[in-house]
Amino acid sequence: MLSRSVPACLAFGFGLLLASASSAAVSEVEGNNVLAAANALTPVGGGLLVEGALQPGDVDFYSFSVSAGDFVTLAVVDSGRGSHADPALRVFDASNAVVATDDDSGPGFLPSLRLIVPSGGGGTWKVAVTGFGDADFDGSGHSEDFDYELVIGAEPPAFAEPSPDNNDTPALADSLGSGTFETIAPGSVAVIEGALEAGGIDHFSFPVEAGRQLSVAIYEEGAGAFNDPVVSLLGPAATPIASDDDSGPNFLSALFGDPSANATWTVKVGPFDGDQDAYPYRLVLALGPANATNVLVCDANGDDFIDRNDINLIFAARGQSVPAGDPRDANADGLVTVQDSRLCTAECGNAQCAPPPPPPLAGCGLLGIEPFALLALVGGVRRCARALRRNSQEDPS
């Protein structure tokens, strides 16, 4: 989504879609406070919902099976949408090595992760849910007490771009077809596996429906630290609809489109400014529920939390005429302008629209690059800030 942003948002949205699949819900069985006692989850596939509870000193472990190439989505959802509860996630691979850790990439204080299982990395992975303050994920040091829903999805891409590709123009776009989208009530999601060749451009076309908001996000194994894709949306006859460079984590892209009519749209993936880098990526397309409505003004990404990611999206949409009710149109004049961007900065949930995202603790951090030292510093600062925030909440005086 979008902030941890666009990725976190999309992941959260993706998580909410999955969370709606009540038929795939299981409950936590306590006694799962160590890796070896993890609750074994049935194949999680497109989405599994785990209903659990954290108490002070508690940590919950779950295990699930993944295969190389799977796109793994994990998110914690609580009834307060991260306003007060502050859980954290850590993922371990089959050898119990830490794959990724996340604290607040979701809305509010909720964590959210997206990962690509590397080649040879399949097997039984584990995920731990604990509270903020438990740096070691052993239950100590946190006093969180709340019920939560853990959403886990692990699936191979719905479509793999042929190699070498032949989709360098909109006319040659790889057609995804509606069957590519997995229907996960109330929306649909498709993960596309692609690879940018040096100097190449990829196009994928697919049907969209009027009123179903389309979210597009791109990920790659470096979490955008080194590669800089640009993602564009094209309408019928290759009409430009939207384009984005860096609204995702680091140099990754994320954007939204609002189809006003049933049509075939095309997503274009290209390099920034003539870059010649070649790298694999995952493109996540999510179609929202029919007749979806965003009622929270300024909440451009629909995560019920207004932050820098929303301002990014509103700023990027300058000059667009939008229908009534569009959350980007803060002054409701039918046109998105810099005025809407500024009006929405006043609505941000955190000062200065929240600090910038920290280096990818999580994200798609399977590169093996774990900037622990920097994270420790960032973590310390954030802890101080959070402690101050909590004190101010608890003590109205």
């Binding site: 990014n312 300058r318 046109l335 302008t337 810099v338 005025q339 961007s341 500024r342 006043a346």
Partner: protein, 198 residues
């Protein structure tokens, strides 16, 4: 005699009113106003805001129009009056289309932070151009529903714009020659007439 001072007072009052009205509007202009340049030169022009009064600028989206047969835009460098984008204090964006430089910035800083940061003249951005053709290109602002300046509360600020220019005015050689020839003919005719009279 009594009327004259009264009329004068009215005129002064009108002038003062006009001055006050103008002072309440933010002024956008180019600095320098006129940039002499020849083909092949690279020039830069600041877009500056003055007459801020008690206002702060918290966001702007501006189009600068130019003659694309004379100028080719090369860069937009944003000022720091709305915060430092590299410190996540502001968002910036710009783009070039034929004859138009579109650039925008919105600040995440509070009104009081902006107030402490901004002083006149406030440089919003520095535009870079290559001079690719002969002549003088006017620089002007286009303000409309999508191109505007807002204050810390998101209110649209009233703006007065001043045009600028880049290049060299082309001397109308044929016209000058004609005027010169006409003048010479006139003088010659007078001389002839004077001689004939003598």
């Amino acid at each position: 005699m009594i009327r004259r001072p009264f009329v004068l007072a009215l005129a002064l009052l009108a002038l003062a009113t006009a001055a006050v009205r103008d002072a309440s509007a933010l002024v956008l202009s180019f600095s320098p106003t006129s940039v002499p340049a020849n083909v092949g030169d690279s020039v830069s022009v600041d877009v500056v805001a003055t007459a801020l009064g008690t206002d702060v600028i918290a966001g702007f989206d501006l189009d600068v129009l130019f003659d694309p047969s004379i100028l080719a835009p090369t860069s937009v460098l944003f000022g720091t009056g709305l915060g430092d984008p590299s410190l996540f204090e502001a968002l910036t964006s710009f783009g070039f289309t034929p004859g138009v430089v579109d650039f925008a910035e919105v600040s995440f800083l509070t009104t009081s932070e902006l107030d402490a940061l901004q002083s006149e003249p406030l440089t919003l951005a520095t535009l870079g151009f290559d001079v690719i053709g002969p002549g003088l290109s006017a620089l002007s602002f286009r303000l409309d529903a999508a191109n505007l300046v807002v204050d810390g509360d998101g209110n649209t600020l009233e703006v007065v714009t001043r045009a600028g220019s880049v290049g060299n005015a082309v001397v109308p050689e044929p016209s000058a020659a004609l005027v010169f020839a006409a003048g010479a003919a006139l003088i010659a005719a007078r001389v002839r007439r004077a001689r004939a009279a003598a």
